[in-house]
């Protein structure tokens, strides 16, 4: 039995178990990854150019005004409250599904993930259209918690599944009570996954637009949009975006610091076995009721509201594109972007996993900066570069929108690709090379088939996110074309709920497929490969 020390998220494991021998620098890989990183960081460059254009004094002046304090307070308090709620709900749901004898575990495992497929603005529409109670801060807390808790659930469930149940048993045998065992051992094992999930939740909250716009809740992102809409004021929007980027960097680096400290020992990295499931006993009924309530609120309300409005909505006053046309364009753009993002993620992931050094780490980490930028900023940046340097090439054409999606959702693609690359033993590549295959041939015949499922998962993740994207789409969508989300938005904005509802339902239907695939994929994946998502 070998003892392997791994960082909590399991990143180091796959590398440690396969002894790496000194290899030549993969120049092609570095070059391609470099290009990808440059593309990804272009929006940040745009922000800096804009800020530089108006001068530091003006930027400081723009940031230092009464509204910023309100926005900061609104954004931070919402982020803190929702992140905590998601951590509690996501972790307890994951623990119940993975570690207890909850009846119908397999079904709950899928049902609690599906809300991830429902766009936040649809959840928000569902709640806000049914009750005026769901407005402002209160509304934002309810809606966002229900919309994003799966981001904690998914990694925590994966990590609990893979963690060694022996530790719990030892703790219990040494006399630790069940509650203390849970807090000290189980939570300790899932700690890095919980943190990773919380970071994603916080970042999503910072960048959310549609849901808050419907709920009338002002955050940095909604205000950036307003500035852009109302006052012909790109510099102000950019100054506020810089604040947003700083907030996101704080969250990302907080994650790094916390992660660096936690070390979870694991005995027998490959010895996965079913853990003993805790009997729920008398808690069975309340826990089941909790699951029914969670799924009912997160899934039932938005779907129910959409169905209700479809039949109860008023006169169909507006014209718009047909649902088939919008659906086709949505699927086309999203699928192309998903493929592109996955391809872009491959070299960066390979470099990070197979050649872990300072350079590849910087490459990988810098791509997470994309998470700090809202879709609006990325769309503005691409328009800017297109107008400024390539004479408007691609402007308001499908390719630019697809590139925007690929940049926006690159980090999601990287998660899946990285996990599968880490899972594919490098030794197989080495065997193939020792048998005389050239590096590219090895990549095509050995590496790709091994990482295939992970690539599919990445594709699904990006596809899912792109189908529900709103802000960048509003700016970059080709003239005369509507996607499902922009057409939904147009109807919703005009209070034509009856016409908006079918679009919401089609978005949910389209997104449900990849989210089901994903739930199944992460369900089967050994934990050590899921880099804390």
């Amino acid at each position: 039995m070998t003892t392997t020390w791994a960082s909590g998220d399991g990143r180091a494991v796959a590398v440690d178990v396969a002894p790496t021998r000194p290899r030549t620098q993969p120049r092609l890989l570095i070059a391609v990854s470099g290009v990808v990183v440059v593309v990804l960081l272009a929006p940040l460059v745009f922000l800096l150019i804009e800020a530089h254009g108006v001068g530091l004094d003006t930027v400081v002046h723009l940031i230092w005004r009464p509204l910023t304090a309100t926005l900061l307070w609104n954004t931070v308090r919402l982020t803190v409250v929702v992140t905590i709620l998601c951590a509690v709900i996501g972790t307890s749901a994951a623990w119940c599904v993975e570690r207890t004898d909850l009846p119908g575990r397999r079904i709950w495992a899928v049902l609690v993930v599906v809300p991830f497929a429902i766009p936040d603005f649809v959840v928000s529409f569902g709640w806000a259209s049914l009750s005026t109670w769901v407005q402002g801060f209160r509304g934002a807390v309810v809606v966002m918690t229900l919309a994003v808790y799966p981001l904690v659930y998914l990694p925590v469930a994966a990590s609990l599944r893979g963690a060694d149940p022996g530790q719990e048993e030892i703790a219990r045998s040494l006399g630790l009570g069940p509650w203390k065992t849970f807090v000290r051992v189980t939570l300790g094992q899932a700690r890095s996954a919980i943190l990773g999930g919380c970071v994603l939740v916080a970042l999503v909250l910072l960048a959310e637009y549609g849901a808050f716009e419907i709920l009338g809740y002002q955050t940095f992102t909604t205000e950036i949009f307003t500035e852009f809409q109302v006052s012909f004021d790109v510099p102000t929007a950019c100054a506020l975006s810089l604040v947003l980027v700083v907030l996101s960097v704080v969250i990302l680096s907080g994650d790094l610091v916390a992660r660096g400290r936690g070390q979870v020992a694991r005995t027998g990295a490959f010895a996965q076995r079913m853990s003993h499931r805790h009997p729920l006993g008398r808690a069975r009924v309340p826990v089941l009721a909790g699951f029914v309530a969670l799924v009912g609120l997160a899934l039932g309300v938005p779907i129910g509201a959409s169905v209700y409005w479809m039949f109860e909505g008023g006169s169909h006053a507006l014209t718009g594109v047909s649902i088939v046309d919008a659906g086709w364009h949505t699927a086309l753009y999203s699928a192309t972007a998903a493929a592109l993002a996955t391809v872009m993620a491959l070299p960066v992931a390979l470099l990070a996993v197979r050649h872990p050094d300072r350079k590849s780490k910087i490459f990988e980490r810098s791509t997470y900066l994309v998470l700090a930028m809202p879709g609006l900023v990325i769309a503005l940046a691409l328009s800017y570069f297109s107008e400024r340097y390539v004479d408007g090439l691609g402007y308001q054409r499908a390719p630019l929108l697809i590139v925007a999606y690929s940049i926006l959702f690159f980090p999601l693609a990287l998660v899946g690709v990285r996990a599968s690359v880490a899972y594919a033993p490098v030794s197989l590549d080495e065997v193939a090379r020792s048998l005389g295959h050239r590096r590219l041939a090895v990549f095509g015949r050995v590496t790709l088939p091994l990482v295939g499922p992970g690539l599919a998962a990445s594709f699904c993740l990006v596809f899912l996110a792109a189908v529900t994207e709103l802000t960048a789409t509003l700016i970059l969508v080709p003239t005369g074309v509507q996607t499902l989300s922009t057409q939904f938005w147009a109807y919703q904005q005009n209070l034509s709920y009856g016409q908006a509802a079918p679009f919401a339902l089609v978005i949910i239907a389209i997104a449900a497929v990849p989210s089901y695939v994903l739930a199944r994929y992460f369900d089967r994946l050994p934990t050590r490969a899921t880099a804390s998502t």
């Binding site: 005004r65 009464p66 509204l67 304090a69 309100t70 005026t132 407005q135 402002g136 801060f137 716009e213 419907i214 009338g216 002002q218 909604t222 205000e223 307003t226 500035e227 852009f228 809409q229 109302v230 006052s231 012909f232 004021d233 790109v234 008023g314 006169s315 006053a317 507006l318 014209t319 718009g320 328009s383 800017y384 107008e387 004479d391 408007g392 402007y395 308001q396 509003l474 700016i475 003239t479 005369g480 147009a490 904005q493 005009n494 209070l495 034509s496």
Partner: protein, 334 residues
């Protein structure tokens, strides 16, 4: 001399257009409500055979895009809810002159003084209120009273909505910037969390009783009635006192981009939407905007346009909204 040049150029443009109009298409940047635009576009396409590609977005976003796009903007025509966006483009010298014959369709006080945009339709600011939450007699009669502390928690408004800026401009024009700022701070305190992103939200929430009253333009209430049906329409509207600074007419204008390669077709579009035919479409439309050109009046059951008693502020005085925006920023509303 200038006038004759303009006529000559428009004649030339008209000649150029007649040869290729059958297969032509123009791109319209539409910041106006889709309800209004779609029926106008359909009528125009049918009448001329010129196809119109419509790009819908917020009017200021579109104006920003046009500035960014510069000389290769895909837009030929821009049509917006309010004048500040086109006024802004006019100040940046991005607009072409509108045919004098088209300008003549609309009363001159509703057109650009420089002749680079034409007024197409109008709306008027009102108070929307829920009688279950506040009696009509308790409502303010002047926009200034909105900042009265007795309305704390009752008032809603949309600081970021383009329709709100003309009211701010009007208040500042009448009472001066410092008074306008104090007023804005007062209504901000009164509204508390009821500061909403747009007028549709205000109309909806007042109707559902989430807030007592708010400031919107009249047509949001009529549209909501058309969408929800009379039985679900709980909210009512009322006007400010005659000539009050809050009683403001907003003009929806259209303009042609200087960079457009389809000047003739674009001129035709403007001529059409201000013609009797185009204005009749607006008059019967469920958008509930007031037609203002070619002598057409609304067919909907709303206060006739000529019976309104708005504040006499002119379009030029409304300007590009920069003063309003700067005041909103100082008050921490933007």
């Amino acid at each position: 001399m200038l006038a004759s040049l303009a006529v000559a150029s428009s004649l030339l443009a008209a000649c150029g257009g007649s040869s290729d109009s059958a297969s032509q298409s123009i791109t319209l940047y539409n910041g106006q409500h889709e309800q209004t635009t779609d029926s106008l576009v359909a009528g125009f396409e049918k009448a001329t055979g010129i196809q119109v590609n419509v790009r819908n977005d917020d009017e200021d976003t579109l104006a920003d895009e046009i500035v960014t796009e510069g000389s290769h903007s895909p837009a030929d025509v821009i049509y917006t809810e309010n004048t500040p966006a086109v006024q802004f483009l006019q100040d940046k010298h991005l607009l072409a002159d509108v045919d004098p014959s088209t300008l003549a369709h609309t009363p001159s006080q509703y057109n650009s003084q420089q002749g680079q945009w034409v007024g197409v339709s109008a709306r008027v600011s009102v108070l929307i209120y829920n009688p279950a939450l506040i009696a009509r007699s308790a409502l303010p009669t002047s926009v200034l009273q909105l900042s009265d502390p007795k309305y704390k928690g009752l008032l809603a408004f949309a600081a970021g909505e383009t329709d709100f800026q003309p009211i701010v401009t009007s208040v500042a024009h009448t009472y001066g910037d410092p008074a306008a700022l104090t007023w804005l701070e007062g209504i901000k305190a009164n509204a508390g969390t009821h500061v909403y992103p747009d007028n549709e939200t205000i109309a909806d929430l007042v109707n559902r009783g989430a807030v007592a009253f708010g400031v919107v333009n009249q047509y949001y209430w009529y549209r909501m009635g058309a969408e929800l049906g009379a039985s679900n329409l709980k909210a009512q509207i009322t006007y400010f006192a005659p000539h009050d600074p809050g009683y403001v007419i907003d003009i929806s204008p259209a303009a042609i981009l200087k960079s457009s390669d389809h000047q003739a077709a674009a001129q035709k579009f403007l001529a059409y939407i201000t013609s009797k035919q185009g204005q009749e479409i607006i008059a019967h439309s469920i958008s509930f905007e007031y037609p203002i050109a070619s002598g057409v009046t609304t067919s909907q059951t709303e206060t006739p346009f000529d019976q309104l008693q708005p504040n006499p502020i002119t379009i030029a005085q409304l300007g590009d909204g920069a003063t309003a925006i700067s005041l909103l920023k100082k008050a921490g509303l933007l």
